[in-house]
């Protein structure tokens, strides 16, 4: 996968799915949903995000429900999520919607919000300033799903999806 370079937004520990994708999103028009991300913990943030920005957080990012929280961040323009630790269900949902979510030990404490960083997938490192942090790469079959733009694209390509209900 190609490198991702972007401006960072910093969040703390235990950012949960209900903050990222509030309950009301379920029945909103698709284009309005991302604008409600983090409105309970950081009002106004969603409207400041630019396409390609990178979200950096602390421990246990994405804890909570199976709702399409990762998809909401992707549609907001977030290109990559880096956290100290990532909830397993959130990780799966991120992969399946085509956005990398990586556990990068130490990342939260070395950045200032707004720093420009590069995620180098070939070398499994994050470059910030003239320094780097390494991360454990995702298994290659998960990177393939991400590069295909998510599991729905994979299922479509295999002819496994049917007519609307």
């Amino acid at each position: 996968m190609n490198n991702i370079t972007g401006k960072t937004w910093l969040f703390g520990d235990d950012i949960n799915t209900d903050l990222i994708y509030p309950q009301i999103c379920y029945t909103l028009p698709e284009r309005e949903k991302p604008l409600h991300a983090m409105e309970a913990n950081r009002p106004g943030w969603a409207s400041m995000v630019k396409n390609g920005d990178i979200l950096v957080a602390g421990r246990n990012f994405g804890t909570g429900s199976s709702r399409p929280a990762a998809d909401n961040l992707r549609k907001l323009g977030i290109s990559c999520i880096l956290a100290e630790t990532v909830n397993g269900l959130f990780l799966r949902n991120a992969v399946n919607t085509g956005i990398p979510a990586l556990a990068v030990h130490g990342i939260r404490d070395v950045l200032k919000e707004g720093d420009i960083i590069t995620v180098d997938f070939r070398n499994s490192i994050v470059r910030y300033g003239d320094k780097t942090l390494s991360f454990k790469p995702l298994p290659s079959f998960l990177m393939d799903i991400i590069e295909n733009g998510g599991i729905i694209n994979v299922l479509k390509a295999k002819g496994l999806l049917g007519e609307p209900l």
Partner: protein, 416 residues
Amino acid sequence: MNIIEKILFNHSVEPVKTISPGDIATVNVDRAIIVDMAALHPEFVDNPPLKPFDPDKISLVFDHYVPAPSIEIANRVNRLRKLVSRWGIRDFYDTGRGGISHVLGGELGWFRPGSLVANTDSHTVATGAFNTLGRGLGTPELMNIIATGKTWFIVGETVKVKFSNRMRKGSSAKDVFFNLASITGDIPGKNVEFAGSGIKSMGMDERSSISTMCAELSAEFAVFPFDGILKEYMENAGVSRYKAVEPDNDAAYADEVEIDMASVEPMVAMPDRIINNIKPVSELGRVNIDVAVVGSCANGRLSDIRDVAEVLRGKKIDRNVRLTVTPASRKIYEEANRLGYINTIVEANGLVTNPTCGACLGGHMGVVADDDTVISSTTRNFRGRMGSSKAHIYLGSARTVAISALNGYIKGDLNE
């Protein structure tokens, strides 16, 4: 191998020598459960899987929005009902028939010891009480499982949790879980395996409450061993074909935690999160409440409704409190009715709703307002979870919720 590794091993698509942490397990799924929330995912209703890998291994359960709270949702879930004839699904539980999938699945024998279950809801880890691996998954991923019958897991390390002694009257499984959470904190990517002599003092309700709540630790799986109590439960559910799994003598664990259940007292999670946010009720000080809720896959079970009825019998709740009680399944509802629990709660001025996830997800049946202070036996207290993001949500056991509803402020009592 421990229980989790062994169940993954038994379900491996390709033959493998063993399963250990760090491995990627590709596995066959025994049952895939779709809940009504899938109707709110456009990718599902617009392009559902062409056909399921086995229609007899697919369940469709209406639980989150029962009955539909708006025209929009009513229209959307009607589209989902079309799956039943299109795919030939036998295990369909519509409004009025079933209940919350994590509870219904146990009652109907879907969680066979040693089996592996996928479900679109994050509390699927509940199946661990049945010696079953269950994972909550996003709807797109469940579409993949429906189409192929397979999925993957990055195998995590396992924390062994040993229970000793038994709970004191007045404390409950929710309090035992809070005790566990305050020791482990969050454990993303890791599993929990329960052990110890204390397990035999817990029925299936109590075990299910604890395994369900382990979703809040960010655990992958939280599994109980097989024993006589589970065996008897399966017999009563009419299920005899299964392969229960025990840990090997040399099973490996990353960590071990011991919990003396006799030392557990009523506890609450303070608003906004469970992790690093637990307090014994005795240290809380006075917190007046507006709303009290009993329900959910974790604590809307018959033993919870019983606890509420025991506390409220012959009394009235505080005049400033609105109490909503939501039995988790039709079977629980019928049984609570037969035993007089529902009448007791109604006479105490509590509101008893139909089975649904309802208030837990802030969708309907008890949405909370700005500045409401809530004590709830449900699963989560994230900000905004049950309605307004300006509400303050405390979590406690069903008994603690009932005692609090009587008094008008959060109160637990080991003697009540």
